[in-house]
């Protein structure tokens, strides 16, 4: 996984060639499923029109109303497909990378708002894993908060799978850096 060849596109700006990527993590799939569920409600509206509205109003089956309904249906379907694509893109483009040196948060709040934040693991002060709610406990997902030394803001992993393992990984990597720092400092 370490990007030693130049042909591999770096995952984030400033990625070092010898930097080892330990974890690339996205929100839990249930987050995407919830958004798709809302999308399905809008899609069901289309089925509702065909199933209930058209039989209720037989005039909608006669021209020109049938053509008008068909064009509304086509345009609505175009918006639905675009919305589904947009939901998936926003899920796919929000991720965090944990390397042996730092944590990188790549976030896409909307289509035109892309941010990449990073901090070095050596600045870690406190790591907290939080699992909330029935779904969180049942499906084992939650938030991981990383408190940094220099900044007042907490670094947050939002609704990620296995939050305790993620927190443990960050602490293990921090300890490795800490030990390496002490060894090199002592020589």
């Amino acid at each position: 996984m370490n990007g030693t060849t130049n042909r591999v596109r770096p995952l984030f700006p400033g990625q070092q060639p010898d930097e080892k990527i330990y974890l690339i993590i996205r929100r839990h799939w249930i987050v995407l499923a919830k958004q798709i569920l809302v999308w399905l409600l809008f899609a069901a509206l289309l089925l509702g029109i065909d199933g209930y509205l058209v039989p209720m109003f037989p005039t909608l089956q006669i021209a020109p109303y049938s053509e008008i309904l068909a064009i509304i249906r086509s345009v609505y379907l175009m918006f639905l497909i675009a919305a589904l694509f947009s939901i998936w893109i926003l899920y796919y483009l929000n991720y965090q990378i944990i390397t042996n040196e730092r944590i990188v948060d790549v976030s896409q709040k909307n289509l035109l708002n892309h941010t990449t934040a990073e901090f070095h693991l050596s600045r870690t002060q406190d790591v907290t894993a939080e699992i909330k709610g029935v779904l969180g406990n049942f499906l084992n997902f939650g938030n991981v908060y990383v408190q940094t030394a220099a900044e007042t803001d907490r670094f947050e992993f939002d609704r990620v799978p296995n939050p305790q393992q993620v927190a443990k990984l960050i602490l293990d990597l921090y300890e490795q850096i800490d030990k390496a720092g002490q060894t090199s400092g002592g020589v």
């Binding site: 596109r9 995952l11 690339i24 021209a63 020109p64 053509e67 008008i68 068909a70 064009i71 086509s74 345009v75 379907l77 175009m78 918006f79 497909i81 675009a82 694509f85 947009s86 998936w88 893109i89 796919y92 483009l93 991720y95 790549v106 896409q108 289509l111 035109l112 892309h114």
Partner: protein
């Protein structure tokens, strides 16, 4: 004639909005996505669907007979 013109303007403005929005989505996916190949495959798949729907919408639009005012 006026009704047809208004309907055409609304229809093509909606189509242009979808087209622009789709172009931005594809650009963002290919530029910021981890895998360009995956981005391109999904984008092509999306484009096939959206172009098909647009063609269906245009065909439906042409079928509408507007009253002559």
């Amino acid at each position: 004639m006026t009704i047809k013109l208004i309907a055409q303007i609304i229809f093509f403005l909606l189509a242009a909005f979808i087209g622009l929005y789709s172009a931005i989505m594809i650009y963002v996916l290919i530029r910021f996505g981890q895998s360009r190949i995956l981005g391109m495959i999904i984008s092509i798949f999306y484009l096939i669907i959206i172009i098909g729907l647009y063609s269906a919408a245009v065909a439906n639009f042409d079928l509408i007979s507007f009253p002559n005012l």
